[in-house]
Symmetry: C2
Subunit: 434 residues, 2 copies
């Protein structure tokens, strides 16, 4: 790989998500050579992916070129490639574009969709973890509307307009709310010849409440907001089968749907080559110490969703959301200053800033410190927190303008079928060819 | 096809380009049932496609949902489908989703890329007539930058960074200018390990000047602007071969390039079924009278690029650009009022508002009436004319903001490889599956 040898220690970061970029930013003025690998040439602001899926935003407002984030780093190399294997004994990695040695390796590969071993579901469901996947969902929704408007077959039309979302975590809840608004505001105006009542949104959740990671107050409020918007919520419901049309559950619920979106869980996305001892078998996360050092290694670290830092307060590790990833990236970045000077490292302490989910227009829920609230105020805070978390001034302005526009006009502007999604030749995410 | 029978006459418009939507808008308050067919669910503002190709704009700012344009029409049906054949004897059409009868048929199918029968070039070149094609070019450019940054092979790297554009009409000229700015502003910052001088932009034109449809003054100015930006211009140059790497011309010029964009010409995109007499064999446009009625038919009309209205002033028909299309659509729409009242129709008279092309920052050329000017003032007018020609307030604001942002920051924000373009499995435009 044509990365020049340097006298400086080479720090290799695998993954340009929240953890990876927070850490990389902290290394800016340090005497290191920084190499970052990612399968995409952009960072994705995942919390707003559901708005790309539902025609509210275009990708460029939630994505940010990784090269641009690091443009002022002196000794920085970005490589669009997949890291395939770690050889810790020789301090090298094998990637899709060649072999590279490292002095320090930072694994920030995050999670992937968890189908719990159900291959049929994996094959037929739509995941929503990346921008291409979100665009596939957008195309599929709009194509199904178009198909529904040309068929005379009632049963087929209803299946086309049936949207089944599995998993009522923040992603499922936010997506259900956005779909309900799409139905109410856009479908009615764009498809006057369709019967609105034919469109149904079903949200299926395995446990006994929506938003299980949040407080019971938040769950109850979100539940009410969703039902008010016409979403059918099915709790304690485990999906067992989806063949592309028929959804079946353990309790005998049967739905027919052409859109089946899976956000029922994630699992770690580790890299081959780190000893099995360091990988928690069930959750597939690397067990790290309080400095994010992978168990059993001196110079391999893991940060973000892929790291499992167990403590008294968090016996199962930190929640797999943006905040712990950002904070771990920053802490490890700061620790590198100390590491290079042989000073003692600072243990990671998670500052829980709370959690929020939005259901729709003026409707959100928030758990912040001891406060539990919902409605307009939560929605307002949700908006500003997300706006200011976006990378880059331009993206903030574009998102803000789109939100204002949608709010005033009850509209979603990006309802364009640009890359028709083909169920037959399903390729959920196109691979780069290098 | 499930379009209800109506007592009102059914007007079928094939194509939602400039001509189709201008006409449709005029029919809003008329007692007709309006049916529109298009292969996309959106209208494309083609003059700014080159900015999508070069990471300046996202598709949603130059595309507009067709259903939304007609949302206040009472008896309007949009169908995402291809019209395959016209049966004028029975007043019906066959489409990809069934058969439909019409009272009036309006053909507004525009043009398609003309490869002049060279199948090898057709197979290997990148066209730029639609949004998916423009996104393919965007991906290809950025992928080639990424590939160039990982290779140690000098010759391969130079071919990756060689951009050959064929045809120096407005599309080729604007694209060449935008690429030159991408090189100067973005490449340098994003790829510090690449040698800028390795990137070359070649603009090949068959006749003796760039912008052949414009004045000689405009051509000379555009030529200078392009050369100042470092574009290599090859005039009187006819491309004979492109095999995916080697470009060859009649005069023996040989270039090696992985990006080869073809905007050397267009040809009509007629629908099967109208008599050969009505179709001009060479340019594949329908010969129409001064009311846009297709020769030999009473109730079939053609408007826009597909219509060939020969007059003393325009013996070869009107130029195939936006203005004649918009004006013909409007005139025919107005004429429908008269037609329905059995009043005499108004012949079409083209008001030439002039032509313009932009080369880059502060650089454009304009021919307006007797005036020929170039530079900052032309660029300023170009910007405002294009902004106000966009469909919809939201698109204007988004484009305006993006332009201001790019202008101030010397940046192109949408440099994201979202759908990697695969040369091997080349599918220039994905087909909708209905």
């Amino acid at each position: 790989m044509n990365i020049p040898n340097s006298d400086l220690p080479r720090v290799v970061i695998v993954g340009g998500g929240f953890a990876g970029i927070s850490m990389a930013k902290k290394l800016k003025h340090l005497p290191v050579q920084l190499v970052m690998f990612d399968k995409h040439n952009y960072h994705t602001f995942q919390p707003l992916l559901y708005q790309v899926s539902t025609s509210g935003l275009e990708p460029d407002s939630i994505a940010y070129p990784l090269r641009k984030i690091m443009k002022n780093h002196k000794d920085f190399y970005f490589r669009l490639a997949e890291v395939e294997k770690i050889h810790s004994e020789t301090n090298t990695i094998t990637t899709s574009i060649g072999v590279l040695s490292y002095d320090y390796l930072i694994i920030a590969t995050g999670t992937k969709t968890n189908y719990f071993g159900n291959e049929e579901i994996e094959h037929n469901a739509m995941p929503m973890k990346t921008i291409p996947q979100a665009l596939n969902i957008r195309s599929l929704i709009l194509q199904n509307f178009e198909k529904a408007s040309i068929t005379n077959d009632d049963e087929y039309r209803k299946a086309l307009l049936n949207f089944v979302l599995v998993g009522a975590g923040p992603t499922g809840v936010e997506l259900a709310g956005a779909l309900a608004e799409l139905k109410r505001n856009v479908l009615q105006r764009d498809y006057p010849d369709l019967n609105l009542a034919d469109m149904q949104i079903h949200l299926l959740e395995g446990v006994d409440r929506v938003l299980p990671p949040m407080s019971k107050t938040a769950s109850a409020k979100a539940d009410k907001f969703l039902r008010d918007l016409g979403v059918h919520i099915h709790l304690n419901t485990i999906v067992t089968k989806y063949d592309g049309l028929n959804v079946e559950t353990k309790d005998g619920l049967h739905l027919k749907a052409h859109t089946f979106i899976w956000s029922a869980g994630v699992t770690g996305n580790p890299v081959v080559g780190v000893t099995e001892n360091a990988l928690h078998e069930k959750v597939r996360r690397y067990i790290v110490d309080q400095y994010n050092r992978v168990q059993g290694y001196e110079n391999i670290f893991a940060i973000g969703d892929i790291a499992l830092m167990m403590s008294e307060e968090y016996p199962k590790g930190h929640p797999q959301v943006a905040q712990p990833a950002i904070q771990q990236g920053e802490n490890l970045g700061e620790n590198f200053k100390r590491l290079l000077k042989n000073q003692p490292l600072k243990p990671f302490v998670y500052k829980d800033k709370g959690s929020m989910a939005t259901i729709g227009r003026n409707k959100a829920v928030a758990d912040i410190k001891k406060l539990r609230f919902g409605g307009f105020f939560a929605w307002f805070i949700w908006m500003f927190v997300h706006l200011f978390s976006l990378v880059g001034f331009r993206n903030r302005v574009i998102v803000f303008f789109n939100w204002m526009y949608s709010y005033i006009n009850f509209d979603k502007a990006a309802r364009l079928i640009i890359r028709p999604f083909s169920v037959k030749k399903k390729e959920v995410e196109p691979e780069p060819e290098l």
